[in-house]
């Protein structure tokens, strides 16, 4: 009648079905008989606190159908450690599971636990690279990569070069930009971009990326972030902003992000407010009209009144 019910290895265990209690359960699911049976046996195992190889097998089965089950993962971890299981085998199973359920976060939490217990991370960066081939912006995987770097002190083990490779493949990958920020600034006690040499290198890196694609917010934010972290005025970025957005050539703006930055820089200058207003007008009417209300708000914050149509109408 079922995978477990028909198996003599499970005949000693009485399955424990779920009691929904009453006739109006919410969000009940038309799950398969297979799932229902597996769940009933899992409940019986957990109720008996059984930590055994067969329990390990069954959790695999259930996780495959319902990876969001929050205590089955904890129960599986308990089984693994109680049985002194081969944790490398566990990682191999996790590889397949993670590839099949890309958006699940419990898998990564469990991987954390296992790798932490193993105390070594051989093969981990390779697996992470495989995950990035499927989705180079997977949030859980980037978070896991940060954990690996911290846990195993991989700061100098080619991590900066890794971000360069990822950005070489897609200069708009903001996750890779963020990881670079972490590698440069996230180490406890590190001066990061506070060190003038590091700062020059990172500013150069971002400027080069802007040279490749100017209409890409990531490196512009990276530059602003550097200035903020060092307590430097945005005015230091006036050169690069004007290279891509000059008010003298309103028809030739090459990046709305440069124009936005220029507006901020001008607003800080003595007698610069009117010009900042012109930059905001240009953004609203021409280069970034979807954010018209925001540009109007910025203008209002500067006490400059309402937006003006900056150029001949466009449509």
């Amino acid at each position: 009648m079922g995978k477990y019910a028909d198996d003599p290895a499970w005949s000693d265990l009485t399955p424990l079905p779920t009691d929904e209690g009453g006739s109006h359960p919410l969000a009940q699911i038309a799950y398969s008989a297979d799932y229902e049976e597996t769940m009933s046996y899992l409940r019986a195992l957990m109720a008996a606190n059984e930590f055994s190889p067969r329990a390990l097998d069954l959790t695999e089965d259930l996780i495959d159908m319902n990876p969001a089950h929050y205590t089955v993962w904890l129960y599986r971890a308990q089984c693994l450690f109680a049985l002194n299981s081969d944790l490398h085998e566990e990682l191999e199973w996790l590889n397949e599971t993670a590839l099949a359920h890309q958006k699940n976060y419990q898998i990564w939490h469990h991987r954390n636990l296992v790798v932490d217990k193993l105390g070594e991370c051989g093969g981990e960066t390779e697996f992470v690279a495989r995950m990035f081939e499927k989705d180079a912006k997977n949030y859980h995987v980037w978070s896991y990569r940060q954990w690996l770097v911290k846990r195993f002190d991989l700061w100098e083990a080619g991590e900066l070069e890794f971000t360069e490779r990822m950005l070489g493949e897609d200069v708009r990958n903001n996750s890779a930009w963020n990881h670079r920020w972490f590698v440069v600034n996230g180490r406890a006690g590190a001066a990061g971009v506070g060190d003038p040499e590091v700062r020059a290198r990172e500013v150069g890196f971002a400027e080069e990326a802007i040279g490749k694609v100017a209409q890409n917010q990531s490196p512009w934010n990276y530059l602003r972030g550097i200035m903020r972290r060092c307590g430097k005025p945005l005015a230091e970025l006036k050169g690069i902003a004007e290279q891509y957005a000059s008010l003298d050539r309103p028809d030739a703006v090459r990046s709305s992000f440069a124009l936005d930055l220029l507006a901020d820089i001008l607003a800080e200058e003595e007698d610069g407010k009117e010009q900042a207003g012109r930059a905001l007008d240009l953004l609203a009417s021409r280069y970034d009209p979807i954010r018209k209300n925001y540009w109007a708000y910025r203008k209002d914050q500067l006490g400059l009144g309402e937006l003006k149509q900056a150029v001949a109408d466009v449509a």
């Binding site: 009691d19 919410l26 009940q28 038309a30 949030y139 040279g211 703006v253 449509a315």
Partner: protein
Amino acid sequence: MAIMKSEDIMGEPHFDKPRHIKYWTRCLKTLLPHQYTSNESNRMYLAYFIVSALDLLGALDSVLNEDERQGYIDWIYRCQHPNGGFRMWPGTDFGAKANPKNARWDPANIPATYFALATLLILKDDFKRINRRLTLIWLSQMQRSDGSFGETLVSGRVEGGQDPRFGYCATGIRYILRAATEGDLSIDGQVVKDVDLDAFVRCVRVAEAYDGGIADAPFHEPHAGYTFCSLGALAFVDRLNTRGLPTEQPPTAPCHPQSVLSWLVCRQTELADPDAGIDSEFVAAQDTRDTRKKEDGVTSEAQADGTVPAHQDPECSAGVTIFDLLVDGAGMNGRINKVADTCYGFWAGASLHIMQQPNLYHHEAVRRYLLGKTQHPVLGGYGKFPGDLPDLLHSYLGLAALSLAGHDQVKEIDGGMCLSKEARSRLPAIWESFADSR
């Protein structure tokens, strides 16, 4: 020519309200399809989507008779944990087999508890069966020393990631069960300690990223979902800083509200096609430019001279004039340089509402994106991306986003609690009733 109004181009796409009501009624009264099996352990929030969607559509009272309303309320209470809080579904309760040794596999769950309380509020429950004292005691045990909250308490250990989703739900539970006021309470003659709000605020502050968004942890990439949870939680505990410098007595956050606003408005994007690669038009344009550069021998300095202005290059002119935006709409994304996705119309939109700047994004463009692109024409509901089949999460958040963007066929939603303003307005009376029992 002045900027065209959308009516001049064409009418806003139609909101098929009866079809949405049909979709949600089916979700409420019949079994969900087997594809939801992988979400069985999230049933309490699926329940909340279903009940709250019907409320937003103004259909709850006509769809439910009194027996059904009471029956659904009873199911939620069936998930209440004997030691406080709620379970996500009855599947961890061992019933007659429960004992102190297996109790660790049946913990109450923080998101389940918030969604259970929210759903009870929408169903007009009187909250008399809530074990308020034990739930608040359990809640104070769910906070870690760094100020963050977890998901479950198992063998005395707070489990679950350091994640503002839990912070949002935990502060939401606290808000529903004791309003925003701070300090220890005395319930049924027992002192119930408050959570450490200062520590929680610090925990949000350190997750503010260099580009203005908020992440789940320090140095992680900022994300509209986590930004919503962080801001929503701060609002629940009355520690939200919406402008200028934060205060220290008591601490508030975010530290850089203007950067948060700028980051949030940048979530609105004309990029809508996930299969095109994240922004293929721009990448393609770049490739063309590179080739041209080589052929013409044009140096980068010559480029810098402004030969290829943004949005004027023929290869990257798609979807950038206000005309195009109004026709096609523009949804919101969750992170920089990603395509729009139905649910971020809520996460990013609601964040702006919480920051008290509800009009900084383009409401009409969001409505057009939702109605014209991700609303399912046959089944009702919303998919994640254009052409996708509807699912509960995107169908609910699509409705919620539509309400925030000012659609008059959906009830007014409270951005912070993600349920109707009408449902939220029942809270003061419930707080009164708690005060009576104290």
